[in-house]
Symmetry: C2
Subunit: 197 residues, 2 copies
Amino acid sequence: MYPEPIARLIDSFLKLPGIGQKTATRLAFYSIEMDEDDVALFAKSLLSAKRDLSYCTICGNLTKDDPCDICKDNSRDGSTILVVEETKDVLAMEKMRNYHGYYHVLHGVISPIEGVGPDDLNLASLLQRLHNPEVQEVILATNANTEGEATAMYLSRLIKPSGITVSRLAHGLSVGSDIEYADEVTLAKAVEGRREL
Amino acid sequence: MYPEPIARLIDSFLKLPGIGQKTATRLAFYSIEMDEDDVALFAKSLLSAKRDLSYCTICGNLTKDDPCDICKDNSRDGSTILVVEETKDVLAMEKMRNYHGYYHVLHGVISPIEGVGPDDLNLASLLQRLHNPEVQEVILATNANTEGEATAMYLSRLIKPSGITVSRLAHGLSVGSDIEYADEVTLAKAVEGRREL
């Protein structure tokens, strides 16, 4: 019904997650009202992001150069590897400015419901890295949900026999949150993990 | 913080309406996981929608060829012109399959708050079209909100002196709706516009 060029653009927007027919139509119509330069830059960014980025062969982080800037950085602490689900988690951790070790990105979690098993994760290169005698601790920073916990459990069983310390991020109250509004499971974990002052 | 190609893509998504930092990041990361073909098609669609589409010089509708398919269609009823705010409204009307006249797209409404006056609308070509003695009625189908009503009022005053009939879409209850849930203004309009059976 729409002229073909816009119909095709709507279809492309529709392929993105969480974008339905109405939003796709709105975005497509907005795009053709944008500056020519902005549209050209958008198209170029799409192609460049797809073509110029790859995953670091060491840690699996998204990077322009291989190995990535973090893996190349010799000033970091080689004794710890922090394992996360996605590239975005590396960024979140780096924002904290409190961790100076290396990372490993799994690109997913074990999820039988979605048919994702250990073989679908970026695990082989992690096990490879553990052969390095410098590595003393693996911090499992998968998300605090069922899949994240299951994946952490799996990794823990896999890594522990090699004698490397395996740790998991602490559970508890968010900083600034009210006890009144915390869910029971979080509260139970907060009590369980209480620390002497 | 993110590698440059993805940071630029996030920026591009951020320029779209209703897309904030989190959604833009999610869409950008999703895009680089898409098939290479899909990404190439997306980029091509963006450029093509911007370059190959223009506004019909007669009615202002978005089109690949000028004049647009509707204006070129001689089988339509030349006695009526239906005036809408946006290209999308033409599509909505055409879906109805009940109207066989021509259209005119204003590309906006008069809105003092947003600094849009009559001169910013696609009006000159509408007045030009009214010189055609075939035109007998102009149907004002701007939206049923304050700006739409004000624009309809303005157009009505502008066109009526030329002797052409000016009409407005009926207000009333949506088909299938409950009186209980209708707002008072709509209900008042429905009573006011009641028809004998």
